[in-house]
């Protein structure tokens, strides 16, 4: 029972990625497939963030089975058995289909953690990213992303849509903490060793170019640093503006005071 004591003041996290890859089905495959209107084959997965060397999948360097008991993917209702439970790594589901929909991912942790399951959502991406993809909360209605024809899509190669995140455990139980510390995560590489492109993300429009070049993307710590730089730059700009406006404000206040005095002297 001493193991069930929580270690206070300790927060431990594990980086993961979740998302999907999708490829266009070749005409030959479509002939043989059971469903004539399926156009793509896709795989949705939850993996560790760093990629294994010489692998052709995104991420997956570490086996997450030591703290994840089960991952449940809830697909669209039109799929048979839409609730897919994956009880052992690799935590992924492969299917064919024609449409993009939201997949609910539920991660259940090992019993030692004493934690409830976490739910996250991922929009299944089948069609290639396009430049017209604007930020989600832009005021104008985003124009329809042009869906290329099957031949063009096949030429563009597989489509990747991945999101990095970190699972944060606060005040873990002692035995869970020891379990976690016996499996330290591989750190993200600074930059891709095999010159793999960085994955596309809607917050980083610059990554669109890289993703269109093709090839299996890889998460690197350079991406994190890049985002940090962008945030710092934005903050610097804001603070400059702030100083400018503060100067204006002080000036205006002086003007106001002057006018007030003038008015008081006249009355």
């Amino acid at each position: 029972m001493a193991d069930r004591v929580r270690v206070r003041g300790v927060t431990i996290h594990r980086p993961i990625i979740y998302g999907n890859t999708a490829t266009v089905l070749t005409p030959a495959e479509r002939e043989t497939s059971h469903y004539q209107d399926h156009t793509h084959r896709w795989t949705v997965a939850v993996r560790s963030a760093p990629s294994a060397p010489d692998s052709d999948i995104v991420g997956g360097a570490d086996d997450l089975g030591y703290f994840i008991k089960r991952v449940t993917f809830k697909l669209h209702d039109t799929y048979p058995n839409p609730t897919r439970n994956i009880d052992k790594p690799p935590f992924e589901v492969s299917e064919t289909g024609w449409g993009e929909f939201e997949i609910q991912i539920r991660i259940t942790y090992v019993a030692e953690s004493g934690e409830k399951a976490t739910t996250l959502y991922h929009h299944l991406k089948l069609h290639p990213w396009s430049i017209a993809f604007s930020l989600p909360n832009a005021s104008a209605v985003p124009p329809e992303p042009e869906i290329p024809s099957p031949e063009n899509a096949a030429k563009l190669g597989p489509v990747h849509s991945w999101q990095y995140d970190e699972i944060v455990f606060t005040d873990p139980f002692q035995n869970f903490l020891t379990l976690l510390t016996t499996h330290p995560p591989t750190p993200l590489p600074k930059t891709s060793v095999n010159k793999k492109p960085i994955p596309f993300h809607s917050c980083n429009p610059a990554s669109l170019e890289a993703s269109l070049k093709g090839g299996v993307p890889e998460f690197t710590s350079a991406m994190e640093k890049d985002e940090a730089d962008r945030l710092e730059e934005a903050k610097g700009k804001i603070i400059k503006e702030q100083e400018k406006w503060r100067g204006i404000l002080i000036e205006r206040e002086k003007e106001l005071e002057r006018l007030q005095k003038l008015l008081a002297s006249k009355e």
Binding site: R8, Y109, P184, I239, K266
Partner: protein, 497 residues
């Protein structure tokens, strides 16, 4: 008659003279050979005395030749010419002239410009004052006046103190009071304004504005008292100091003798440390031996302060522990925070979550504006590419800064509104008075009126006959603005003034 040896030999016809002569001639030649090398700089006899030893020779040779005048390197003549120059540090375009070597680069900047350093002066807005600069001893007017004087006299405190005029019914301010108020205001401003760069540089800047009033006063009093000592007092202090030193010396001597005695009497039972540990310099250098020695020394010397031992024990091992554990933590992605001291309150457990669930979001009231401002900069505040801990904190501070900016803009708008209203009232108050001097204000009066009430606008438009046409157009534009009392342009970041 002097008879030489050679005479005798020739008389006796002895051949031995030749051998004798032969043996002696090499000898004189050898000794002559030694002497043929001419020593330089010093006389021959002196050289023979010193011998060919280098140090004394060199020292002798290195003597400066004082007969000649030293040549400072400019054997040739240097041409100087009179050139006009400008000091980049001046605000006016004053042109002065000076003598410069002709060889000097004519385009070079005036070298003393860089010494014209301006000190950083702080100004604050009304809101900042009401929010965190309030003080019970200082009114706002006084604080404003203080800042003006400080800025004018470039924080030269003695001048500032002299020129500072307290308000008629206010207390007289000493130099320390002024400094204290100024520095505390600056520190509060630094702390509360959004800051680019990292925390370390902010802490450094904060440090530079440290000022402890009581300590300063005490220090100045102390120095003054030191100055004011009479010669007798100085002599007394010296005598006391010497006595103290002598006492310490005696104490040390007595202690040593006592230890010696104890050791000879009791040997190993004396409880004193081994001679080896004390006298061996090498072991004293090693950390362990040093610690032990200190610990033991403390034990003997001052048995009444056990806290010394305790303080020596933990710190060195703890330092090593934290360096290793930092690496360990980083490897396992662990973050340690101080658990809150209050163990009485029931600590609810934060459930496991994804870091992106807890992304900082701007406050609801300003949410649309903040998001708009951030999208203009290319940042999406709802999602991060890599939501790591550091990036999340960065996003948080970014949102804070943006909120502050939007607040400031709001206040600027409000103040401008007030200004316009005041101008209207001023215009009306002085309407009966001179017309000529107020040519400028009627335009603004129209504008201000438009912003205020439309009724006034009509009255004023009638009053200005000749500028009717223009007034009308200004009215139309201004009143349009006025109807929307709070006006924000679609482009928040480049709002025209």
């Amino acid at each position: 008659m002097a008879v030489s040896a050679s005479d005798i030999r020739s008389a006796l016809s002895l051949p031995s003279s030749s051998t004798l002569v032969q043996s002696t001639t090499p000898a004189p030649r050898k000794s002559q050979g030694q002497i043929t090398k001419k020593p330089e700089g010093i006389s021959r006899e002196l050289y023979a005395l010193i011998g060919p030893s280098a140090p004394s020779l060199v020292a002798h040779l290195a003597k400066p030749r004082l007969k000649q005048k030293p040549n400072f390197g400019s054997g040739g003549k240097v041409k100087w010419e009179w050139r006009p120059f400008r000091n980049a540090g001046r605000t006016d375009s004053l042109q002065l002239g000076h003598w410069v070597k002709a060889a000097d680069d004519p385009g070079a900047e005036y070298p003393f410009t860089k010494y014209n350093v301006q000190s950083q002066s702080y100004t604050y807005s009304q809101e900042e004052y009401t929010r965190f600069l309030e003080d019970k001893d200082w009114t706002k007017d006084e604080t404003d006046h203080l800042f003006n004087v400080v800025r004018e006299y470039d924080t030269r405190w003695y001048v500032v103190h002299d020129r500072y005029e307290p308000p008629p019914d206010g207390p007289t301010r000493s130099l320390e009071d002024l400094k204290d108020r100024y520095y505390s205001v600056c520190r509060k401003l630094i702390r509360n304004r959004p800051w680019t760069g990292d925390e370390a540089s902010k802490a450094q800047l904060l440090n530079s504005y440290q000022f402890d009033k009581d300590r300063e006063r005490m220090r100045k009093d102390y120095i003054a008292s030191l100055e004011d000592r009479t010669p007798e007092e100085i002599a007394e202090e010296e005598a006391l100091f010497i006595e103290l030193k002598r006492l310490e010396q005696n104490e040390r001597k007595f202690k040593k003798e006592r230890d010696e005695l104890l050791r000879t009497l009791l040997g190993i039972d004396s409880g004193l440390p081994d001679i080896v540990a004390e006298e061996d310099g090498l072991s004293a250098l090693s950390a362990e031996g040093f610690k032990k020695r200190k610990k033991n020394a403390n034990e003997i010397e001052i048995p009444s302060t056990p806290s010394n031992i305790i303080s020596l024990g933990p710190p060195p091992p703890k330092r090593a522990h934290s360096a290793k554990s930092a690496a360990y933590d980083a490897q396992h992605c662990i973050l340690r925070v101080e658990p809150p001291a209050s163990s009485t309150t029931k600590i609810t457990h934060t459930p496991v979550h994804l870091r992106s669930f807890k992304l900082p979001a701007p406050k609801a009231a300003l949410l649309p504006k903040v998001t708009q401002a951030l999208t203009e900069l290319g940042i999406n505040p709802t999602r991060l590419v890599m939501p790591t801990r550091e990036n999340c904190t960065r996003l948080e501070s970014l949102i804070e800064a943006t909120t502050a900016l939007i607040d400031t803009k709001k206040v600027v708008d409000r103040v401008e509104q007030d200004i316009r209203v005041l101008r209207v009232r001023l215009g009306r108050a002085s309407e009966g008075a001179e017309e000529d001097g107020k040519e400028g204000t009627p335009m603004e009066v129209d504008g201000g009126a438009g912003a205020g009430a439309d009724v006034d606008a009509d009255a004023d438009a009638d009053a200005e006959g000749e500028v009717d046409g223009r007034a009308q157009s200004i009215l139309s534009t201004r009143s349009g603005r006025g109807r929307k009392q709070v006006r924000y342009s679609s482009q928040i970041l480049s709002m025209p003034i």
